[in-house]
């Protein structure tokens, strides 16, 4: 890969109690590209991205070894400022989860919890973020309305705007479109093509065709292992590992 590396994972292992969910994962995520993680249910891909922003800390009985190098430091170190980390590595979830507040307050939430109070600056940030998420045109006249009145696709883009407001470097997306209809899905996918110029994006998806459409690199996870990682076209046109071949041709999973 010719591009710069944003996150470098080395020998990552993770256990939930006795169950080993991630086995010796090593992978370099390129900067300002979309990397897709595919694999059957339960293969560890969601667990993997949750490790990158330390979201797995919220779960009981988790043990992690290995290194996730970001910005020259190991994210997994005990002295990592997790709050700051999550500002730089943000996550979008499968089910859109806007706060039960207004659209404006949702987007302004991030900057506000980090201390931003200036009304004018907040307004600018909100507009910039909503534009960045391709949502401004649809909500600019309803910023004070409750976010829960937006459609599913709009809510998901709102969640993206919420992240953009704190100016992250990396966007983690856990099946962001699986709860959305095809048109909303396309809008999110188009958005990804625009966003990747400024952000490094890692997307978990169980929809292979989506991975094929949006990503430049794809990693195939199976039973907690990273089986194959290649440029997307290579992984889908000529996979090297038989397990990958069987999965992408739909012969199992």
């Amino acid at each position: 890969m010719g591009s710069e590396i944003e996150i470098s994972v080395k020998d990552l292992n993770l256990w939930f109690g006795k169950f080993q969910a991630l086995k010796n994962i090593s992978i370099d995520i390129p900067k300002n590209e979309v990397t897709a993680l595919i694999g059957p249910s339960g293969c560890g891909k969601s667990t993997f991205i949750k490790t990158l922003d330390r979201m797995n800390d919220l779960v009981d009985n988790v043990k992690v070894t290995g290194a996730v190098m970001y910005n020259g430091r190991n994210v997994l170190d005990a002295d990592t400022d997790v709050v700051e980390l999550r500002k730089e590595i943000g996550m979008v979830f499968q089910k859109p989860n806007p706060f039960p507040k207004s659209v404006y307050d949702n987007v302004a939430y991030g900057p506000r919890v980090h201390g931003m109070r200036n009304k004018k600056t907040l307004n600018e940030i909100v507009e910039k973020s909503l534009r960045g998420a391709a949502l401004w045109d649809e909500v600019s006249d309803r910023l004070q309305e409750s976010a829960l009145r937006l459609s599913g696709g709009q809510q998901q883009r709102l969640c993206i705007a919420r992240l953009l407001a704190v100016e992250p470097n990396v966007l983690l997306m856990d099946e962001p479109a699986s709860a959305l209809d095809p048109i909303a899905t396309s809008k999110i996918e188009d958005l990804l093509h625009v966003l990747r110029k400024d952000y490094t994006i890692i997307i978990v998806t169980h929809n292979m065709q989506q991975a094929a459409r949006v990503s430049s690199h794809t990693a195939f996870f199976f039973l907690g292992e990273l089986v194959e990682y290649a440029a997307t076209i290579d992984l889908f046109e000529r996979p090297q590992d038989k397990r990958t071949e069987d999965y992408v041709t739909g012969k199992f999973g």
Partner: protein, 282 residues
Amino acid sequence: MVRKRYETVPMGLLWASGIATLIILIVILAYILGNGLSVISWHFLTAEPALWGHTGGGIYPTIIATLAVTGVSLLVAAPLSVGGAIYLNEYTKENLLRKTIRQAAEILAGIPSIIIGLFGFLFFVIYLAPYTGGWSMISGGLTLAFMVLPISLRTSEEALKTVPADLREASLGVGATKWQSITTVVLPTALPGILTGLILGVGRAVGETAAILLTAGGSLNLISSLRDPGRPMTLNIYDVLTEYRDTTTAYGTAAVLIIAILAITLITDWLMNRYTKKLKGL
């Protein structure tokens, strides 16, 4: 068609049971309000009670006493229950400690009020007399707090539980601290449930008699401080009936009490409804 009959008979019985509750409520309300409404007047609500042997007094001091004792109990119970619920739900995992605390709350809720009153008497009235003033609003309020606490702790915990986990994750996902997430996202969302629980507790406090009997004192004088003894409305009904056979005042007090409780319940419901709708953006 025989099967249809087997359907309608149980349906009818069930309907009757449902209606029964409504009928009972209506009967009680009708009886009390029927007899008591006429007693209520501006004078009744604002005047001091008549002296021994005379009639025509008011129940102003008892209203104040009720407010005092309820206020004290809320002041103590609210932070303890909400804070406790936040600690249990947000900061601890589902372990033995949590289960024990929950079990303790349920047992506490089941203890007869007279026994709690007895404890209050021994502890607040006698033992802590220098601080509470012996028979006083403080003693009464603190004792009531013990009864409000288990209910509101439980309902607050339930309310917090209903806040979906992904809202907390979303908040953490933009880099908020845990405490920020709780105060700016979780609590506002859980507020209706929490407040409802507190109101339920208040209802219990307002209507409590046995514990009050043993701790509040029963004096008819208007309280000048919380360390003074007083006679809340519930106690007044009992006293007035047993000491003076004054059914008029009793009905009047009862009517005021019932109207107050009705008002609190209905207004809280309405407010929470509006708040919830606003949250949902409807």
